[in-house]
């Protein structure tokens, strides 16, 4: 709720802006931005204010690893003034589409704007694409996006910059809040077990150990080895809770819970986390900050709540 008012205030504070520039703007003067995931779209809509009209192709509950573009999506992309996507192989099935579109309009993989040495990789050397969970890294990605917006509409550069600064201030607050909550979890309980390896950056930023049942991508089918390994971990570390994700079939996690129960360890389902997708548009969890906060609170309750 507070975020809502904040956003409303932000928008109101922007004030009316003079007529849009002639370059690359839509008929109503606003820049038409199309993104893949909402984690990009929503912050950009805040930063851009009423100077942008933002759409995201993937809605709540959609798995970007598996997503395939439809003709409607292509049309949306073609009608856009600028396109942002995450990159780093998150939208694995859409790369060709971006290549094509990139010939005729500006396309930016915001995740790839982050310096490589700050990125995480797994044992096989694959890059972890879930960078939005590291608030600092995400700020860099959003900054890169903002620069592109400024290029498209130089008259609004100052406007964008102001909004960005204000938004980033909120992000810093969010980071502090998260760090505080996570650090209140006893050390031995700081183990986050989820359906797939989406929370690597989250764990790194907030000093949590993170284990995903599946690997970095949901394209692989879960194996018995994955399940058993996770159960061993739960039993050994006496983890109180595991988490499902909104965009993933919970069956595998449920099998883990039941398997642990057979071994005498009562693991609770700590709740649903937003990993690759955010909540419904118009809700708190539909915003980047709201989504992040939901995750933090859910994790905190499940792990820190005394047992």
């Amino acid at each position: 709720m507070p975020a809502f008012f904040l956003m409303a205030l932000l928008l109101a504070a922007c004030g009316p802006v003079g007529g849009g520039g002639a370059d690359g703007t839509g008929s109503d003067g606003a820049i038409h931005v199309v993104t893949t995931i909402a984690q990009i779209a929503e912050p950009v809509s805040v930063i851009g204010g009423d100077r942008v009209r933002v759409e995201s192709l993937m809605g709540p509950g959609v798995d970007p690893h598996l997503y395939r573009a439809t003709q409607g999506d292509i049309r949306k992309l073609e009608s856009a003034d600028i396109i942002f996507y995450n990159g780093l192989h998150l939208e694995a099935n859409m790369l060709r589409a971006f290549e094509e579109i990139g010939r005729s309009r500006p396309v930016l993989a915001v995740g790839e704007a982050i310096p490589e040495d700050r990125l995480l990789t797994d044992e096989t050397g694959a890059v972890d694409p879930h960078v939005w969970f590291d608030i600092d890294l995400w700020k860099e990605a959003l900054a890169a996006a903002t620069e592109k917006l400024k290029e498209l509409s130089p008259d609004d550069a100052a406007f964008f910059e102001t909004n960005k600064r204000e938004y980033f201030a909120k992000l810093d607050e969010l980071k502090d809040e998260a760090a505080g909550l996570m650090s209140s979890i006893p050390k031995e309980r700081r183990l986050l077990v989820t359906a797939h390896d989406a929370f690597g950056y989250f764990g790194r930023m907030l000093d949590l150990e993170v284990v995903g049942l599946q690997g970095l991508s949901t394209e692989d089918e879960v194996g018995l080895g994955d399940i058993e390994r996770t159960i061993d971990l739960l039993v050994e570390r006496k983890v109180p809770a595991v988490f499902v994700e909104t965009s993933i079939n919970p069956k595998a996690i449920e099998a883990v819970i039941e398997g642990a129960r057979e071994r005498g360890v009562d693991v609770k389902l700590g709740g649903e986390l937003f990993s690759d997708a955010m909540g419904d548009a118009g809700t708190e969890e539909g915003t980047y900050i709201g989504m992040y906060r939901h995750n933090v609170h859910t994790i905190h309750e499940a792990l820190a709540g005394g047992e």
């Binding site: 809605g59 692989d220 089918e221 879960v222 018995l224 994955d226 079939n249 069956k251 099998a255």
Partner: protein, 310 residues
């Protein structure tokens, strides 16, 4: 079973039971010359699953399974209608239904993905399945399915044999063709629906099609072929599961298919009745016999007059 975790035991038992049930039902499909039907219906079930979700707005397994069953039955009716009212052959009709329905299912999935509201997760898993995530309840359901199939087969064994061999004559004798067809369709759809929510469409098709073909190479008796089909299906489930426990992160579903395929290969080559090896050996023996006889003929003709040997 020692050394296998609880989860592995559940998965193994579930896969075994499901494989046995699918192998048996697949044997019927084989003799109705409708092997592809299982594949077609498994694919046809997908739109029903999605609709089942979309109508409610949230995931409810019974509703989605009911949707799957309804959709699969619709597919079966469509195949029958195409055959009845056009010149299109049955396997072509099944191919059409398979493609159309799965296309419809994927399209509906795409639409549903754009609808507001979360919880759509897992609709995709009906395609590939998550065999490794089966738990005790799955084991109970699969076992029940296998028992039901077994009962149906045992109780009406000779009726099935007659119906599959000569349905026209069967009708003449008074065997209700409609009842047999309905029973068969019910069994098939039930096994498919139970199977795809756990192991997905592709694995179900494999379990329905491969075991009967493997069994054929080993026997010339219908009853024994049914039993062997069940054995190979269950065996593939169990062996595939066990193999998938050996490696880290090895997915169970694909290994079950590989196990089934391996059994097929062995059957093809070494099957006692129709295996390639046996056929080759028999042929060689016949040729050798012929050669000796011919040699004998030549000698005999040299001595006697016109006493040609068979």
């Amino acid at each position: 079973m020692t050394g296998l975790s609880h989860n592995a035991q559940w998965v193994l038992a579930s896969a075994l039971m499901l494989g046995a049930a699918a192998g048996t039902v697949g044997c019927f499909a084989y003799w109705k010359r409708q092997s592809l039907m299982g594949d077609a219906l498994a694919h046809a079930a997908l739109p029903g699953v999605v609709v089942g979700y979309a109508l409610l707005g949230f995931k409810s397994l019974p509703v989605m399974l009911a949707g799957a069953a309804a959709s699969a039955l619709l597919g079966a009716l469509a195949v029958a209608a195409i055959r009845a009212h056009s010149r299109i052959k049955e396997d072509t009709a099944m191919g059409i239904i398979l493609s159309v329905f799965i296309g419809l299912g994927i399209m509906l999935l795409a639409i549903v993905n754009r609808m507001p509201g979360g919880g759509k997760s897992g609709l995709d898993s009906f395609i590939f399945g998550q065999a490794a995530a089966m738990v005790r309840q799955d084991m109970l359901v699969m076992t029940a399915a296998a028992v039901v199939v077994l009962l149906v087969v045992l109780i009406s064994f000779k009726e099935w044999k007659l119906y599959l061999f000569d349905p026209a004559f069967a009708r003449g004798l008074g065997l209700s063709g409609r009842l047999m067809e309905a029973a068969w369709m019910t069994l098939l759809v039930a096994v498919i629906v139970i199977g795809i929510q756990a192991v997905g469409v592709i694995l179900m098709a494999a379990l329905l099609i491969i075991p009967p073909v493997s069994a054929r190479s080993w026997t010339n008796a219908f009853g024994r072929m049914l039993a062997l089909s069940a054995l190979f299906g269950g065996g593939a489930g169990a062996v595939g599961t066990w193999i998938s426990t050996l490696g880290d992160g090895w997915p169970t579903g694909p290994f079950i298919v590989i196990a089934a395929a391996g059994m097929f290969l062995v059957s093809l080559l070494f099957g006692v009745r129709k295996g390639l090896l046996v056929t080759a050996m028999l042929r060689r023996r016949q040729m050798r016999r012929l050669r000796t006889e011919r040699a004998g003929d030549v000698r005999r003709d040299a001595f006697a007059e016109g006493e040609a040997l068979p």
